[in-house]
Symmetry: D2
């Protein structure tokens, strides 16, 4: 995979990962270690400060393995260390980094939720407090390349979405005008890595193995951005009933969407809608109607599998998607979006 067209002189971009001790941060390191243009120059981690990357990321080339984690606050001289910054810190703590880095003209890819909702009121509704940096919201672009490709090529602030929104928005957008706006019901099954690498009792092996449950109902935090993107695509207000479930798997997300059709559709027609929307996309695998997405087919990749079926008995559209919640649902999609922002072939480093 070679860098394409627009900026052929681009040989190397100094790249930093801020907050690399979690699962997102480690996955970013795995991908960036193989990226031909984005070269890791700086990695921060409060928890592992002073330790070499090789302790946490296996199989790195020697020159990367010896890089050590640094504990860096937003106020510190981060901007001098790199030109591209991936923020893999918790929601709410990313915004101060973004403000400081954007002031210095740096490109920022934020994997937290801080810049995903364009309306600060929606942010407040779902996160319970005022938005920490509303002035930046205008320039932030929601980081799903298949939906916002052109805007991503022009931005320096990418709001990389998480796994739930990606797995829901991508299958639904081509159908928003085929379904009743208030009839959408979504059930997602998520692997544990979606919850991050945190010291919480509920995340122990002994609590999750042989177990599963629904949670965060009826108003999961990410509903705000999901409804925002669907409404944007539909040109009208879309509401969604959303039930996430935790299952005993580490990486992987499976989403099942049902919605009442406004007019009847065959399986073949539904498949054509997907095919038309995504048939040329390098990372979207549109499955034939008789094949349903599965978790392992997309593990450790930037691909999403999607398929559509029609339940003629109830006149409902059924949509299915599968992605790696650390891949297309997180780290690798963030790189795909960053590739666009730097004028690279979006597949660079992801094949």
């Amino acid at each position: 995979m070679v860098p394409q067209g627009e900026r052929p002189e681009l040989q190397s971009v100094r790249t930093a990962v801020v907050g690399a001790s979690g699962y997102s941060g480690q996955e970013l390191l795995q991908y960036l270690a193989r990226h031909p243009v984005f070269h890791l120059s700086f990695v921060t981690s409060r928890q592992n400060a002073g330790q070499p990357l090789s302790q946490f990321v296996h199989g790195l080339p020697r020159e990367l393995g010896v890089l050590t984690f640094v504990d860096a606050a937003p106020g510190s001289d981060l901007a001098g260390k790199a030109d591209l910054f991936f923020l893999a810190v918790p929601h709410g703590t990313a915004a101060p980094f973004a403000v400081a880095l954007r002031k210095e003209g740096k490109t920022v890819v934020d994997l937290s939720a801080d810049f995903r909702t364009t309306d600060p009121a929606v942010y407040k509704e779902f996160y319970g407090h005022e938005h920490p940096a509303p002035a930046l919201l205008d320039e932030a672009v929601y980081g799903i390349p298949e939906i916002h490709r052109e805007r991503l090529k022009q931005t320096k602030l990418i709001a990389a979405p998480g796994c739930f929104p990606t797995s829901i928005i991508l299958p639904l957008v081509p159908f928003v005008k085929h379904v009743e706006a208030d009839s959408i019901v979504v059930a997602s099954l998520t692997g544990v890595s979606g919850a991050g690498r945190k010291l919480e009792m509920r995340l122990l092996f002994g609590e999750i193995n042989d177990n599963m449950y629904a949670y965060s109902v009826p108003k999961h935090r990410h509903l705000g951005e999901i409804e925002q993107e669907l409404s944007l695509a539909a040109g009208k207000k879309i509401t969604v009933t959303f039930v996430p479930h935790l299952v005993p798997i580490h990486r992987g997300m499976l989403t099942t969407i049902t919605a009442r059709l406004t007019q009847s559709l065959t399986d073949g027609e539904a498949h054509q809608v997907l095919q038309k929307a995504y048939g040329q996309e390098p990372f979207v695998e549109v499955l034939p109607p008789n094949q349903l997405p599965e978790a392992r087919s997309v593990a450790h990749s930037n691909r999403i599998q999607i398929s559509a079926r029609v339940d003629a008995r109830t006149n409902r559209l059924l949509l299915f998607s599968s992605l790696d919640n650390l891949g297309k649902g997180n780290a690798s999609q963030a790189i795909q979006a960053a590739n666009l922002a730097f004028g690279l072939d979006e597949r660079t480093g992801l094949a």
Copy 2:
């Protein structure tokens, strides 16, 4: 747990399990080994014929462990071997056994689907061929004790339901008159044991570990009986959109139901509806609205956990249930129903 009231003289019922090499059959043996009234006298298995039970069921009392599996066809002299017969053979092969045994006046608990649909036309729609013993359909009682307790006390032919129907019907029945009849959407997550112990490539560890997928959409075989029981409770035709998902767990089923409310309801009111329906039931655990069912809390038991929430944003009722798909979803519920048919306390052998 002691036998109750009606037939105090009942000391021992000779009990047979037909088809005991699968997961259902083995689970039946586990429960029956501890049952104070139903005494195992005969166990059939084509696959393990001639081998002792102790090879397959661990921790049995010595006198049961030495019992050997017998290969017995419907035509053989089965009826003389016991008075209560559990049929744990595949769909379609149970009916001939039931016909022969009912002719001899024996009590039959069929764990297959052969007698679950009261209308032979529905059977044909979902199973693709004529019903093999329509004359018996009238006397068969659908084996959910919480719904059909009185009829189960009077029958000698119990159609024990599987895990999907139990996990859907029990939470929904108290609400059928609160929701729009065509608005019900169900997503179920099932452990692998629900598929039985079969030599199929898709059931290998290597195919299921770290994997998950939806299947059998849009018309799973068990939809017929699910809609039958819901319609019966509602007094009108109910249709359901149903999506089952396989997850990497052995035993356990989690069901999430959404339906549009015909009038608004609070979380507390929804809880009260469940509490009123099942508050006194020994095997139904109604959870408070802020607690959701989980798989491990009911593993290796005959209990089902249920809770209700309201999504006020979309005016939908959310119902959640969890059961062991070899327990309340299968073998132990079959014993609970059989207890009723023999005039025992339904908790006998299940506490």
Copy 3:
């Protein structure tokens, strides 16, 4: 299972569990909830103080479910609350409870390591500090009933062993005189529950799923008690090379022991040695040489499976054992030992 012989008048023993928020404590509660003589009257937990048992232990009878956890220190008036105390608190913190309770004449079953080594010097070697209550060491009896049954009937202080020692000592004791004293090599595979329910990064699902590793080599803490018991049985000093491995399973322990034979032995003779030692034991399942122990056959039980094979090519004895590391390796064996101390049939509450 009914109480046997010696003290037929014994109807009820008030029983307390100290430290019931961990996996050991919860498993004790599960077993005690069904015990016909040991009646739970008091349960302590720092972490869950004030909450009802029903939150943590599912399927309890209503009268037990409403019992609440109490935060109680060794100095508090614990002794008045019960006559039998199970201590399920971490190593080092159990001793002060034991001292206070023994002073009041109470029976104490300590599931920690505090009283397992009879020699305070060995304790210091393996735990790094002086023994906290050396005066009690003389009266403590090591709680493997199959080895110390008669002494357990006479004691009021039981040092209940953990899973590694039980899985190693039981198979080896009958053979200590058949093998070279310095030739024993043990590899154990343990489920995660053996590590307890602690907030440690290494115990997260994301760190254990799809993973395994050896640890605590070459001198695991429990080697002291293992060598003590083996040497006692052999009448000479026995040393052991021991390598524990963590595997992605919750409950279960598998142990493989190899040792050089001092004289040749056939598979059949080795089996006979086991049969002679344990053939009558209710909780030891001696398997024929062609069958090897497996984890699931003993899960949720107080049984241990053992088998022996001879590797004639290398003249080594191979011993295999399997137990539930929360069952025979922990909570249920503690109850088995307590049954003896109270003159009950040791199977009481465990069948």
Copy 4:
């Protein structure tokens, strides 16, 4: 990673995989799809004949995905289809393919055991029948590049070893002269993929999840080749006691080796022995003594982790290794060896 030195003109090698429906075959396809020199031109599978590769291997480039599986017998005109053949068929069925292909001068990498033992008598001892092609044994080279690199550069018949031998031979070879020849005891833990993708009851998810057990004792089939390679390195006869264990994981193998030292050694000295042997090897990760190998660090890679510890109490050396049993223990190591046979940098296609 670019092809190195010797044959710079080498642009493309037509490559076939014989028997690609199993886990080994599929893993080969995954690696070969990214290999810059070995170009897939022909893939056989009895089971999936006529189906496109894209059905089984996800994320393939389109031109590979459309390739279809062919059912080809040894007698057919295979030789014309490619110049390099990977045989991923069961033991015993590979030899006829090898004979036919070597006759045509083709390079053969056999992943079965057919050419691993140099002595046909050893083959007969462990496999129970005469060797099917003894005339080829002389030219076969055992495919561990770190041990037989120079010979692999000269051969056209590679006997690629399996996971157990690789995980045992690599750590032990540098120490064969430091340990007593008859004191070696090995315990290996293997993921299920090591058993292949076969329709066997014991390989069902329901039989392996939450389970583990030892098997194939005392004389596992691969002991012959293990002792052959160790004896070759030691210059004297080495015997090994070997106990494999199955654990609930898909890919991954962990091996623990103990052996009595002939003279005392410190942890540091043992580490130096490994460092000297493998410090420059691209795929051997020698860990410091305080760090032990783990399965996930090498998953989906061609790396093996090794570390050494000394148990001074018992004067035993402890060696630990971890590899992916489909990677360094199988498919990727076969490619590493094939790279050498074609004069390529052995890292080609594996980084």
